[in-house]
């Protein structure tokens, strides 16, 4: 009985352990990808001389969550940072022409 139980339980445990670590690795990889994308977008915003403070703050929050092992939260923050950076790029690009609408003439 005991042996049989072990025989079933052990592989199960191994399997589970393997699955969670694979999951964790997947989450970390997701985070890394999301963070890299956000950083790249923010860098582009920087080359357009139009970074937002909120992008930097959200990137920092992502890094902090990742350091604490909370990869889901970190990935969400990184994606938000990327969206912010992209919005700042959009702003910089569209303002290249639109600023003239504001001008006093």
């Amino acid at each position: 009985m005991r042996n049989a139980a072990l025989r079933i339980a052990l592989p199960l445990v191994l399997l589970l352990a393997g699955a969670t670590s694979a999951l964790a690795e997947g989450a970390e990889a997701d985070f890394k990808a999301a963070y890299a994308a956000a950083e790249a977008a923010n860098k582009q915003a920087g080359s357009l001389r139009n970074q937002w403070t909120t992008t930097a703050a959200t990137l920092a929050a992502a890094k902090k969550a990742a350091d604490a092992g909370e990869f889901d939260k970190a990935t969400a923050s990184a994606r938000e940072a990327e969206a912010l950076a992209k919005a700042s790029i959009f702003q910089a690009t569209s303002e290249k022409e639109r600023w003239k609408d504001m001008e006093i003439r």
């Binding site: 959200t58 912010l84 919005a87 959009f90 702003q91 303002e95 003239k100 003439r105």
Partner: protein
């Protein structure tokens, strides 16, 4: 949600921009004409605030609000920038290690010349602000540069402004395409929306002067630099033009540039030029 508010702002701004576009019926004016700009700029403000005398625009929010004006008069009885002014006066003539002083770097020993800055240096092809000139003077004499946003720099410019009070801004654009370009770049910077709040300099200081943003009455862009540097109660201390620009940027959630980067020098050039003729009133005291 931060992002959502950004999108809201962006769409609101877009709507505004479309409105503006429709209203101004798209005047095609690609030729840079600083003289016409300055005239239109001044007219915009004098039309918007017919009761404010032209020379009073240099007093910023105090020219727009009676309650504030009274508090200002009380402050000016013994203005909070007095200590800074005194420190600046002392620093200005104090010899560097090599025996020279700031006096040796400026025409007329630095007295009564604030209204000529910034100027366009045709040799270098760039705009030279007073703050930059002060640090260059130090470096030319083997002294380390001062922080552009701290008290010592504010004290020096306070003293230089004080000795120039009442003199009208006299910014020149030499006949050099690079000067015109610097001016135009400054203008673009002034009107370009940035930061997550999607504000340009003009959003606050052209469209809304005299109005309160949260509690503060916004200063009109016309004459805004004439009062620099300023003692702000908000800061409990003095601030240079550099400090004003960088904090404006972070307040609208934009990452500020380094003080005296091209953008800031150019926008100072533009803003000073369109305030030509208005008197230097610095150092100023502001809420």
């Amino acid at each position: 949600m931060k992002l959502r508010s950004a999108i809201h702002l962006a769409s609101a701004a877009l709507a505004l921009a479309l409105l503006a576009l429709a209203a101004s019926s798209v005047i095609a004016a690609d030729k840079v004409d600083p003289v016409a700009d300055a005239k239109a700029f001044r007219k915009f403000f004098t039309d918007k605030f017919p009761k404010v005398k032209l020379e009073d625009f240099v007093n910023g929010p105090y020219s727009m609000d009676e309650g504030l004006h009274k508090q200002w008069e009380e402050k000016e009885q013994f203005p909070p920038y007095e200590f800074s002014l005194e420190m600046g006066k002392e620093m200005f003539s104090k010899p560097f290690k090599n025996g020279k002083s700031f006096e040796d770097c400026f025409p007329n020993k630095g007295i009564g010349i604030r209204q000529n800055y910034p100027y366009f240096d045709e040799k270098e092809g760039k705009v030279i602000t007073l703050e930059l000139a002060l640090n260059r003077c130090r470096e030319a004499n083997g002294e380390p540069p001062l922080s552009y946003v701290r008290d010592e720099m504010a004290a020096l410019t306070a003293y230089m402004a004080f000795t120039s009070r009442g003199k009208p801004f006299d910014i020149k654009i030499p006949n050099d395409p690079r000067a015109l370009q610097a001016y135009e770049n400054g203008k673009e910077y002034f009107y370009t929306r940035r930061g997550q709040l999607n504000f340009s300099c003009a959003t606050c200081h052209v469209q809304s002067p005299g109005e309160r943003i949260r509690a503060e009455v916004l200063a009109p862009a016309l004459g805004i630099l004439n009062a620099m540097p300023i003692y702000r109660s908000e800061w409990s201390g003095m601030g240079t033009t550099s400090r004003r620009f960088t904090t404006c940027n972070s307040q609208i959630r934009g990452v500020p540039f380094n003080p005296q980067d091209d953008e800031y020098r150019n926008v100072e050039y533009y803003l000073s030029y369109v305030s030509n003729g208005l008197p230097i009133s610095g150092p100023g005291a502001r809420p």
